[in-house]
């Protein structure tokens, strides 16, 4: 069963489209990283899923329910933590837990206590006096403690210093299987933050979903390639999968291969006989940058 389904989902603000005819399905039990540059439409998409915004076209479903008809009972199964989300500032962390507890039949007091200790959150301090990282942790604590089936995190690492960010991610990673929500959706513009966590990756740019596949698949098909030889030149017609082809000197060609496979390896060897072909695996971060640059260039051409 899919935790999330979108069908031609669109949302515009005035004449500016933020999400364009997006179709997506995220199966349950996956950790989905929604990536994209600033302004790509990630936050808008998540708010559409949670009925915080109304779509201007298409539909979406979350845990089998139409987003536009989500009721209180559905929100008992969904956790949502977002950068910039309002929290009851006057409450202490303990009061926040006390307020949230009766709202959720599945609230696990022991888990809440464990998480609070793990996040090192002072229970008696008002939220307004907490640092940004602590506030995010408090929000996460108030959402994980009822064991939601789906956890939606929107830019949860934005503005956090590296140490706090690492603690935050470590906290998610260290959650025992029973304590972890089954499905995670995390949006970020920085892939490093979710590299260790993501099962699947979606790349959003200009409101369009450009890529949606598993992280392993992405890592498997993207390679940096360096060809070193004598007086070599790229072929006239660009072969399939070749991206960002550069030639820093007459003896060197560098490229990113976006459809690498044993056949592609053979093709490279055949194209540059006598040359040395070095192939290197890429991190998701590097892949993300390639995709982002590619979108920017194509968007620039469209605009021109």
């Amino acid at each position: 069963m899919n935790a999330i389904e979108c069908d031609n989902l669109s949302r515009s603000f005035g004449r500016v489209p933020a999400v364009r005819e997006l179709t997506l399905a995220i199966p349950e039990g996956r950790f989905f990283a929604l990536l994209g540059p600033n302004g790509a439409g990630k936050t808008t998409l998540l708010k559409l899923l949670l009925n915080l915004l109304r779509p201007t076209g298409g539909t979406s479903r979350i845990l089998g329910h139409e987003s536009s008809r989500l009721t209180a009972s559905e929100f008992r199964r969904i956790g949502y933590v977002a950068d910039g989300q309002d929290l009851p500032e006057w409450m202490t962390v303990a009061q926040l837990m006390e307020f949230c507890r009766p709202l959720y039949p599945t609230w696990d007091g022991a888990l809440a206590t464990r998480l609070q200790a793990m996040f090192d959150l002072p229970g008696d301090r008002p939220i307004k006096k907490l640092s940004r990282g602590m506030r995010m942790k408090a929000a996460l604590l108030s959402s994980l403690s009822y064991r939601p089936d789906l956890m939606v995190l929107d830019e949860p690492f934005g503005g956090l210093d590296p140490l706090v960010r690492d603690e935050f991610i470590q906290g998610l990673l260290e959650l025992p299987g029973d304590d972890r929500p089954r499905t995670f959706i995390v949006s970020s513009h920085d892939i490093d933050e979710v590299e260790r966590l993501a099962d699947d990756v979606g790349f959003l740019a200009g409101g369009r979903l450009l890529v949606h596949e598993s992280a392993d698949s992405l890592r498997g098909r993207f390679r940096t390639v360096e060809v070193v030889g004598s007086a070599i030149a790229p072929p006239a017609g660009r072969p399939a999968g070749w991206l960002e082809v550069k030639q820093p000197s007459g003896n060197v060609i560098q490229l990113v291969h976006g459809a690498f496979s044993p056949a592609a390896q053979s093709e490279l060897t055949a194209l540059f006989p006598g040359s040395t072909v070095s192939v290197h695996a890429m991190t998701l971060s590097e892949i993300f940058l390639v995709l982002a640059r590619g979108h920017r260039d194509s968007a620039g051409k469209e605009a021109a």
């Binding site: 109304r54 209180a72 009851p88």
Partner: protein, 561 residues
């Protein structure tokens, strides 16, 4: 329901101190005045504590509580929690009910019961004050922040007032009540009018919400607001007119008598040092005021006539006509003390005293004023002056009787009369009175009408009656303090000076009044009931506007014999 109570508990915990302060100030502002522990002339501090601070605290609290869980924007904590909009709205309304409406209801119930107020007056007061809360709450819920609330509340108020002014101008027959009208001084009806206009503006805001496709929120607010608006709408347009009132429980309305004559007593006089506002430019100009003494003749026994307005116009010999501005009713309230005295005595079954013939000392009647600049155009021209005098005929009836002793009080249909200090000054009694009155915009008749004070306060007559000695004394002079309205409770202070002692048979008792006389006396308060209005037109032939005198001389000059 549990979610509603859960949110309510959270809000009470959050705003507990402010809520307690609000309740405390509201109690002070109402009970303090009712129990007379607030000095009625306490100056700025009392004004702030009694009137300004409760309103400010209420506004801040209503806005804060509505915006603690905002309905505007997409960042609110509650939006992604298992809290339904209905539960949230119910919790917020419940908060307003618990913190504002319930204490107000309790206090009003106590005061209303103490003042023998009819249940409909009580209900009117509760609905009126709750409606005000609802308007504040709605505005706060429809906008995103306190600053926005203030700006939008001011804008909504302005929009409501402008709209009402436009309606009042286009449809003058509606006699719509505008907050700045100088001839309606009571603060309570003004506040209520402001509430009415704010309500209309809130409807405009809701329409805007609907137009911007916030359908769910619009419907939620309409469900709450529409019944209130429908109910208020059927009552307020009637209540906010200045039509004559009929006191509930008063004797049946007396019939208007015929044959009252108006006697103009020459010479007419012109006062050259008056001022006149030019209706076209608003400038204050030096003006001449034309007046003449007048008396009413053939007024039936027990009746008095009261001036309502005077309209004058002149037709010159060449047929040209000029109409002067109409004078309102802010001049003499009674024609003569004699006629009032006669009417008071008749109502109490006493023989009217043989007062001096005051008919020849009739009050001056201001016929018209004209700016000096304008009068130059009329100098030396003869014509016929036509003056139409609109009058109201009144009949007194006994309303309240209570011992003429300090501390005595009487409650009657939502009104309370209390006697303060009663003393003897130069052989005459002087009594301080305190008049409390409950009012509601939803009540269209009787003493609970918000504009009762203005139209009725001068229609009270006061008699000291000593049945044991068979004597009485009539009010000879009076002073009214400023009206001090606290929400629905109006407070009016009066000081009444009584005249000579008279035997009930009509002869004067030539002895000063003393404390022993007061011991046995009762204070009878009478109320003048309107029998209706009528107009009389008198004509001054061979009328000529005299030369204006620029000298600051207050001596009037005769201009018509």
């Amino acid at each position: 329901m549990s979610a509603v109570l859960h949110i309510l508990r959270k809000d009470l915990r959050h705003m507990g101190i402010l809520a307690a302060l609000s309740v405390a100030f509201s109690l002070v502002a109402t009970l303090g005045w009712y129990w007379d522990i607030m000095p009625s002339a306490g100056g700025f501090l009392v004004f702030m504590i009694g009137q300004v601070i409760p309103v400010i605290i209420q506004f801040i609290l209503v806005v804060a509580i509505m915006q603690a869980d905002p309905t505007v924007g997409d960042r609110a904590f509650w939006r992604t929690r298992p809290i339904s909009p209905g539960a949230l709205l119910s919790a917020k309304l419940l908060f307003l009910l618990v913190v504002f409406a319930v204490p107000s209801l309790a206090v009003n119930l106590y005061i209303a019961a103490s003042m023998d107020a009819p249940i409909r007056v009580l209900m009117g007061m509760v609905i009126e004050s709750t409606g005000m809360l609802l308007v504040e709450g709605l505005v706060a819920a429809l906008v995103g922040s306190m600053t926005q609330s203030l700006i939008q509340a001011a804008a909504a108020l302005l929009a409501g007032v402008v709209a009402a002014t436009a309606v009042a101008t286009i449809f003058p027959d509606l006699h719509l009540f505008t907050p700045w009208r100088l001839d309606i001084p009571g603060h309570a009806p003004r506040l209520a009018a402001v509430g009415l206009y704010s309500g209309a503006a809130a409807l405009i805001l809701i329409a805007h919400q609907f137009a911007t496709r916030r359908t769910g929120r619009t419907l939620a607010f309409l469900i709450v607001l529409v019944p209130v608006v429908l109910f208020a709408g059927t009552n307020w347009p009637v209540t906010i007119t200045t039509a004559p009132t009929q006191l509930a429980g008063a004797p049946s309305k007396p019939a208007l008598s015929e044959g009252v004559q108006i006697m103009l007593i020459p010479p007419a006089q012109v006062w050259s040092n008056g001022l006149e506002r030019d209706p076209a430019t608003g400038r204050i100009l030096k003006a001449q005021t034309y007046s003449i003494n007048a008396a009413a003749r053939s007024v039936p026994e027990g009746r008095i006539v009261q001036l309502d307005s005077v309209s004058a116009g002149v037709v010159f010999e060449n047929g040209e006509r000029h109409d002067f501005s109409t004078n309102g009713s802010v001049f003499w309230h009674f024609w003569t003390n004699l006629e009032q005295a006669t009417s008071l005595c008749r109502a109490l079954g006493l023989a009217p005293p043989a007062l001096e013939n005051e008919k020849l000392q009739a009050h001056g009647l201001r016929l018209f004023s004209i700016a000096n600049e304008k009068s130059k155009a009329f100098l030396g021209r003869r014509g016929t002056l036509s003056v139409t005098i609109k009058l109201e005929e009144l009949a007194f009836h006994e309303d309240v009787s209570l011992p003429a002793r300090s501390g005595a009080s009487s409650v009657h249909g939502g009104q309370k009369w209390s006697v303060g200090k009663v003393s003897i000054v130069d052989g005459h009694a002087v009594a301080d009175l305190r008049h409390l009155r409950l009012s509601s915009m939803l009540i269209t008749d009787g003493a609970a009408r918000p504009d009762y004070y203005w139209s009725e306060a001068f229609r009270h007559g006061f008699v000291l009656l000593n049945r044991k000695r068979g004597e009485f004394a009539l009010s000879a002079d009076r002073w009214n303090s400023a009206d001090t309205p606290i929400w629905t409770l109006d407070i009016n202070m009066k000081r009444i000076k009584f005249g000579d002692r008279w035997a009930t048979g009509g002869s004067m008792v030539k002895a000063p009044m003393d404390d022993a006389w007061l011991e046995d006396a009762e204070l009878v308060i009478l109320h003048a009931e309107s029998a209706g209005t009528f107009s009389k037109t008198v004509t001054l032939e061979n009328f000529q506007i005299p030369q204006a005198e620029d000298a600051p001389d207050s001596t009037p000059a005769p201009f018509w014999q």
